[in-house]
Point group: none
Chain length 209, copies 4
DNA sequence: AATGAATGAGTCTTCATTCAT
DNA sequence: GATGAATGAAGACTCATTCAT
C-alpha cells in the first residue's frame, strides 16, 4: 500500500489524537481538523475510521523489519552486542514513536480478532522472528544459555519498555521527578533504562560470571 | 465508600464490558442491561459514567494493601521467599482479575490527570510502597543487592505480567498454542510465568552464585 | 388554603429559583435542596411541580386585596392622593417581591388557560376592581377625567413598573449606572420612578392646569 | 451572519414554539418536527439550542434600525408627528411579531448576562439611541419639554405595548371581550392603543395647551 | 478526485414522579 | 406523616458515514 502526503498527514494526526484520547474518544471530525483536510476525505481515503486504525499499524510496521534485519546480519558484532543494540533500538523506537506505541498498547488489548488484530499480529511476528534469530545465533555460538523462553523474554523486553513509556506520567510522579523538564526527564529515563535492560538481559541470556 | 450489592453488580458488569469493548466502546445502556438494573440507576448511584470508572479502581484497589502487607510482615519467610510469594500473588491477581487489569492497562495510558489518574496513582503508590519495604528488608539482611532501581524493577514485574495477560491472545497465536483449551493454556501459562519470573528476579535481586 | 412553615419555605425557595432560572429551568431537586426539605415532600405537599407554581400565585395574591381595599376606603385622602399612595404601594410591592413578579411576568405570557392562568387572572381581577373603584370615585368627585380607559391605564401602570423591575439589569447598563451598588441603584430608581409615575398619572387622570 | 432558507425555517418554527411553551418547554425535537428538518440539523446549523435562541434575537434585531432610522430622518414631519409614527411602528411590530416579542419578553427577564443578554442589549441599545435622537430633535426645536427622562419614558412605551400584547388573553378576559374574534379583537386593540399612546405621549413630551 | 450538506442512530444525563416502608 | 430508593420518559447533543455534485 502506497500512502501519499495527505494519507500520512491524516495518519499522523489520527495517531496523535488516538494516543491522547483513545480511538473511541476521538471523532473523525477531530482528525479532519487536526490534519486540516476535509471531513469526508477520511472516509474517502480509508473507507472507515476502523480502517484508518489498521492503516496506522501498517504504516508504522513497515520500516522495522528492514532496520533490525540489517543490524542482525552485521558480522562485526557479537550476539550480546547485537542484543544491546537491539535494546537501544527499541528504546529509541518507543521514545520517538510514543504516540504510536500508546495507541498500539491500548488497541492490542481489546482487539483479539479482526483486521486490527491481524495487523498487530503481523508486527509482533516480525519482531519475534528477528529476535528468535538473534537468540539462536547466540546459542549456536555458545554465548547464550540453551534454555531461554524467547516468548517470555520478549514479554519482559516489550512489557518493560512499553509499560514505562506508556505510563511515564505515573513513573514521574512516583519518583518525585515532577520538577524535571520533559526533555531532561526523557533523556535521563532513556539512559537509566538502557543500562538497566542491558544488565537485565545479560543476566537472562548469558552465563554470568 | 461502602458499595452495596447493586453497586457491585454494576461495577462488575461495567468492568467486563470495559475490558471487552473499552470504556468509550461501552454504553451506559449496555452496562445497565448486563447488570440488569435500570438505566437511570447508574447515574443515580455513581453520578456519571466517568465516576463509575473511578469507582472500579477504588473497589479493586481496596483489598490489595492488606493482603500484601500481612504477607510482608510474616516473620517466617526470607526476603527472597517473600518476593516469590509476591510474584505468585500478582500472577494470581492478574489471572483472576483479568478484566480489571485490562481496563486499568488501557485507562492508565490516557489518563494523565484527573480523578481516574488519581485513583490509579493511589493503587500504584500502595504497590510501590509495599515492594520498597520488602526490597529494603532484603538489603538490610544483606540478601539483596545494594544497587536496585526499585521503580524500574517494578516496571519489569508489572510490565511483564501485564503485557502477557492483556495480550495473551497474541502470545497464544505466536506460540502456536491455539489447540489448547483456555483452561489448559492459563494453567500452563501461570506455571511457566511463575518459574520464569522467580528466576528473573532472583537474578535481579540477589548475589547469584 | 392554609400554608404551614414548610409549605412557605418551599414556596419561597421555588420562587427564588423560578425567578433566576425559569420554571422549566428549575428542577424539583433544586428546590428541595434550596428549601432543605426532602425531595419527595414537594410532590407530597403540593401534588406536582405545576401545582407548586399555582400555590405561589395564591400565596402572593392573598394579601394585596385587603391592604389596597383599606387604603381606598380611607376618607381623609383625595382620589389623586389615593392614587399616589397606590403608585407607591405597587412600586414597593414590585421592589420587595421582585422574585415573585419576575416569575409572574414570565408565566403570565405562556399560560393562557389552565390553573396557572386562573390563579393569575384572579390576582389581576382584584387589582382591576380596586383601581376601577378608585378611578370612579375620582370621576364622581369631578377630579378625574370622564374618559379614562382604565384597562389601558392599568397596562401603563403595571407595564411600566413591571418592565422596569424585571429588566432593571438592562436599564442599569443602558444608563451607565454599573458603578452604583445595588442598594444605591434601587433607592435611586424607586425615587425617580415614583416622581415620574405621579406626574404621568396626574396627566392621564386629572384636568391639568 | 447570513441565514439561508432553512435557517429561517428553523428560526421561525423555534420562535413560535418558544412563544407558546417557553424555551425550556420546547424540545429541539419539537422544533425539528415543526420546521420539518432533521433533528441533527439544528445542532449542525446553530451549534446548540442556546445559540438558536441568540440567532432569533439577531435575526429579528437586524431590520429595525434601518426602518426607524429612515423615518426619523424624514424632513417633512414634525417631531411629534414622527413620534406618532414611531408609536404606530412599534405597535405594528409587536402585533406582527407577537411570537418574537413574547420570547423576548420572557428571556430578557432571566438573562442578565451571557450571549442572550448581549443580543438583547444590542436590540435595546438601537432603540434607545434612535428614540433619544428623536426626542432631542424635538427639544432643539422647542416642541418637546426640556426635562424628559428618556429611559423611563421608553419603559412606559415598551412596557405598555409589551405588557398588553404579551398578556392580551387576560386583557380580553378582564374586559369581557371573549365574544370577539381574534381578528376583530386585534384590530380594535390596535386602534385603541394607538389613540391612547398618542394622547399619553403628547402629554409626556409636549407643552400641553 | 474531492467535498459540503445532511442524517439516522446512538450518546450520556436529567427529569418529575411514585411507592414501599 | 414523611422519605429513600427507584424508574420510565425525555432531554440535548455527537457520531461515523453517505451522497449529490
Amino acid at each position: 500500500m502506497e500512502y501519499n502526503e495527505k494519507h500520512i498527514k491524516i495518519i499522523e494526526a489520527a495517531e496523535k489524537l488516538f494516543s491522547d484520547n483513545g480511538f473511541n474518544g476521538t471523532s473523525v471530525r477531530d482528525i479532519a481538523e487536526a490534519a486540516d483536510v476535509n471531513l469526508a476525505m477520511i472516509s474517502y481515503y480509508f473507507g472507515s475510521k476502523d480502517n484508518l486504525l489498521v492503516a496506522i499499524f501498517k504504516y508504522r510496521g513497515e520500516n522495522t523489519r528492514q532496520l533490525v534485519s540489517e543490524m542482525i546480519e552485521n558480522k562485526e558484532l557479537s550476539p550480546l552486542e547485537k542484543f544491546y543494540t537491539l535494546i537501544d533500538f527499541y528504546i529509541d523506537k518507543f521514545q520517538n514513536q510514543q504516540c504510536f506505541h500508546r495507541v498500539m498498547a491500548r488497541e492490542q488489548i481489546i482487539h483479539t480478532h479482526g483486521p486490527v488484530a491481524t495487523a498487530i499480529l503481523s508486527v509482533k511476528k516480525t519482531n519475534m522472528e528477528l529476535i528468535k534469530q538473534l537468540v539462536q545465533e547466540g546459542q549456536r555460538k555458545k554465548q547464550f544459555k540453551k534454555e531461554i523462553d524467547i516468548s517470555l523474554m520478549m514479554n519482559t523486553l516489550f512489557g518493560t519498555v512499553n509499560h514505562l513509556y506508556t505510563t511515564k506520567h505515573y513513573y514521574k510522579e512516583l519518583n518525585n521527578l515532577q520538577s524535571l523538564s520533559d526533555e531532561q526527564f526523557e533523556k535521563q529515563l532513556r539512559k537509566k533504562l538502557s543500562v538497566y535492560l542491558k544488565t537485565l538481559f545479560k543476566a537472562i541470556l548469558t552465563y554470568e560470571d
